[in-house]
């Protein structure tokens, strides 16, 4: 995974370079997925939001003003799509909230199945406790932590764009939320 400035990838993709586009997808699809899960979208809705975000970038790519901030551009677009999705649901029939740490989805290996496959019981126990502790965090912390979990690690500017928060608040909020998570886990690591 490259950590180079993604700006040149944007420029190359705007010129029609499919490989540059694929590098952008590799770099940021994890971030967009994490954002949709932070807003607790179902897998189907997350797929819609993700795809709309990428299609929108494809159409805008030769008009991006600050190519080096493409991650924040994508995070902003994904956040807006998530909010639109949530609002469209709120205005029609209320649907089941299939949150990302629920284990009810049919097409997914459930948390329990994945954990059962763990060879080390202790390790599975720790993972299960940690996962559940994240789910118990206050909404803002849970969202920030879920986005922080993206691979590759997102930049603070991207997390800020995903949550519509000032970039300067991300570091302190991260520290506070991780501390809160430790309290939920009941340990002092």
């Amino acid at each position: 995974m490259t950590d180079e400035e993604p700006g040149w990838l944007v420029t190359a993709a705007a010129g029609g370079d499919q490989a540059a586009w694929e590098a952008l997808v590799e770099r940021f699809s994890g971030l967009i997925w994490a954002i949709t899960r932070a807003y607790r979208l179902s897998r189907a809705d997350a797929a819609d939001v993700s795809q709309t975000t990428w299609l929108r970038l494809a159409e805008h790519i030769d008009k991006i003003e600050n190519a080096d901030r493409i991650g924040a551009w994508l995070a902003t677009a994904a956040r807006r799509e998530c909010l639109q999705n949530i609002r469209s649901k709120a205005r029609t029939v209320p649907t089941e909230d299939m949150s990302w740490f629920d284990s009810g989805s049919d097409d997914d290996p459930t948390e329990a199945e994945v954990l059962r496959a763990e060879t080390e019981r202790e390790e599975a126990n720790r993972a299960s406790l940690l996962w559940q502790a994240v789910g118990r965090l206050p909404a803002r912390c849970r969202q920030l932590i879920r986005i922080l979990m993206a691979e590759p690690p997102p930049r603070y500017a991207e997390i800020a764009a995903a949550l519509d928060l000032p970039v300067g608040s991300i570091g302190p909020t991260r520290a506070r939320c991780l501390q809160r998570l430790r309290r939920e886990l009941g340990e002092c690591i």
Partner: protein, 156 residues
């Protein structure tokens, strides 16, 4: 005072946990790669300037209702207003081009491309679209060899 190495270690552990318990679906990555082929290099972009889902002011509330979404796209020359209605079979779309004019309209959505025409009043419609990303590609009948207009994508 936070303990930075411990925070970094916990963050790393969380990232590994998400990769195992809630990984990015491969089909989502494939779709993102495929999005590049929908690009219109020759087209003029009509940007989203209004969306009733994002506007909660009184006027928007009066004009919209549950199951009915109003969006507007704009270029310097024209406006495309679209009403998206939720039905049992998916989404119905009614569009209006202003100033009114004939045009060929392609509705690009999950299931492919639907071709239709805007009449001399500039209105067009299509029924039973699949939910998911949608964009319009509009080619005005008059005005000679101008580039087509594509709208921003939105999820319907």
């Amino acid at each position: 005072m936070s303990d930075e190495p411990a925070d970094d270690a916990l963050e790393h552990e969380l990232r590994q946990l998400a990769a195992r318990l809630d990984p990015v679906p491969p089909e989502l990555v494939q779709a993102a790669v495929g999005a590049f082929s929908w690009r219109n290099v020759d087209a003029e972009l009509a940007e989203l300037v209004f969306d009733s889902l994002l506007n909660t002011d009184q006027a928007a509330l009066v004009r919209s209702s549950p199951g009915r979404r109003l969006v507007s796209f704009q270029t310097p020359e024209l406006t495309i207003d679209v009403e998206v209605t939720t039905t049992a079979s998916g989404r119905d779309v009614m569009g209006q081009i202003t100033p009114p004019q004939r045009a060929s309209v392609e509705i690009r959505h999950r299931a492919g491309v639907i071709s239709t025409d805007a009449d001399e009043q500039g209105s067009f419609r299509s029924a039973s679209l699949q939910t998911g990303p949608m964009s319009l590609r509009v080619r005005p009948a008059a005005g000679g060899p101008r580039p087509p207009i594509v709208t921003d994508w939105l999820s319907i």
